[in-house]
Amino acid sequence: MKKFRDVAVVGVGLHPWGVFADKSMPEMAVEAITEALADANMEWREIESMVSGTYLWVSQREGMFGILSGTAISAAMGGIGIPITSCANACATGVALLREAYLAVASGLYDVAIAVAADKSAGGFFRPQSEDSQFDLDYIRYVMTGETNPAYWAMECQRRMHDIGTTEDDLAMVKVVTSKPSPLNPKTRYKKSFSKEDVLKSPMVCDPLHLLEICATSDGAGAVILCSMDKAKKYTKKPVLVESAVIGSPTFGDATIPLTYLSAYPRPAVGILTESRNAMAAAYKMSGRKPEDVNLIELPDNSSWHYFAYLDCILQANDGEAERLLRSGRVDPISGDLPVCASGGLGSSGEAVVAQGLFQVYEVVKQLRGEAGERQVKNNPKVAVAQTYGYAGNNAACLVSKAW
């Protein structure tokens, strides 16, 4: 892989996660950008290139402005004539945006680039965006099989329990552990920690997943500013090096039926979640790192099943390692030596789909800088991974590290 010049995160900003019925998505993005600019001691006119997350639920909100989000957000900020791309990679969009901004700077084309996304996903089960019964597989799947997102997650979870022996207690403990930092994070939607009894008494949504074992859908917005490392000192004393920012896509023969699809054609030795494993393999290859170098993780805990599946994926572990790590306390977000979801994760905030990856990047940057306040992790992390997973075989991951 060709070596580009070094790129640093110099500014991060986040609109809180929650429900904000009175704000438009561009308004929320402006608040996130304003915070990121202040964090980088930078003026809006210093941004040279921009990439923005395209809103997926356009038939329900903001229509064309949700699709062409980039120019809608720049109009709200005040247009400065820079190149803008709008990008849709489902729930993996946020980290995919980081990759695009990274490439803009790493290539030498620009010195400063911003990744921004706003989303208003609040409103329960996701649903298809067309009524095209000829070509929209998402519509066909939904009306013929009634498969919701939690139903898919529950089916994968049921299989994992069968293959690995994941227990109902393990699933509940994911929420117990990840909700610990939730009241300490000013950006989270739910300011509450939960007991195992709370989780197991919450209503069953799709067996074996309870309400408190799946994430809500939320509104939120994030912005991350990247700069070439040689100019980063102008903006921050604590530049965070982007060692890798990658996208993964599925391999033919994946055994999963990804959301939006009706079938899979499993081939021997291919396995499941290949888009995610491919992304992590690329993240390690590009950075030259190994899983044992990582000491801070933000993963996509859309459900308790995801937590285990993605901990295995990020650590390139054999299935079952994730459950052992959780039981051991090593991945406790506050006291662990490998904190996972120090932000509180998706479980504490809900998922604002295309902005979610930037929520994760914000968290790992704050933690690496030692600026996470009451929820600051105790293990003095140097190297962090953030990974997001999305509809229809989308995945993106990044590996970042302290560079001061």
């Binding site: 298809p128 066909i140 099989t145 009634g146 067996d207 033919f252």
Partner: protein
């Protein structure tokens, strides 16, 4: 009774053989590498296979399979899904002898197990004054 005269109509036509005593999912298969796709696709999904429309043939899939995994959808999903009157339903991924893993609603959400043999049938999700609207469903055998 009026309900007995209602016609059974697939919610979306062309996904399974209908009308039929023994309904089967309609898929496509590559004549070269035997890759099977459901619903049927114009081209072979194998990255190493030629993208030629003439390589693709339409096949009816086996109507029996094995549950790879399942769950129960307990809350009513929002429109455009309709199941009226609503009651919780089982959903499964089913492995067919052709090597394909397929989604579908189950006829029951009780006494299910991974590895259980199922047979394809059809079932009503909703109706209007003229028709009953049906989809394919998996029914545990024996």
């Amino acid at each position: 009774m009026a309900t007995q005269t209602k016609k059974q109509v697939p919610i979306i036509p062309g996904l399974f053989t209908w009308p039929s005593e023994k309904p089967q999912l309609i898929a496509s298969r590559c004549k070269k590498c035997k890759t099977v796709t459901f619903p049927k696709a114009a081209f072979c999904a194998n990255p190493d296979c030629e993208k030629k429309r003439e390589n693709i043939e339409v096949v009816d899939l086996s109507n029996t399979g094995t549950i790879w995994t399942f769950t129960t959808q307990i809350y009513a999903p929002p429109a455009p899904f309709r199941k009226e009157p609503f009651s919780p339903y089982g959903i499964a991924m089913v492995d067919l002898p052709e090597g394909l893993r397929v989604l579908g609603i189950l006829t029951t959400n009780e006494n299910l197990k991974l590895g259980m043999k199922v047979e394809m049938t059809t079932g009503k999700l909703y109706e209007d004054e003229e028709n009953e609207y049906i989809t394919w469903m998996w029914r545990p055998q024996g």
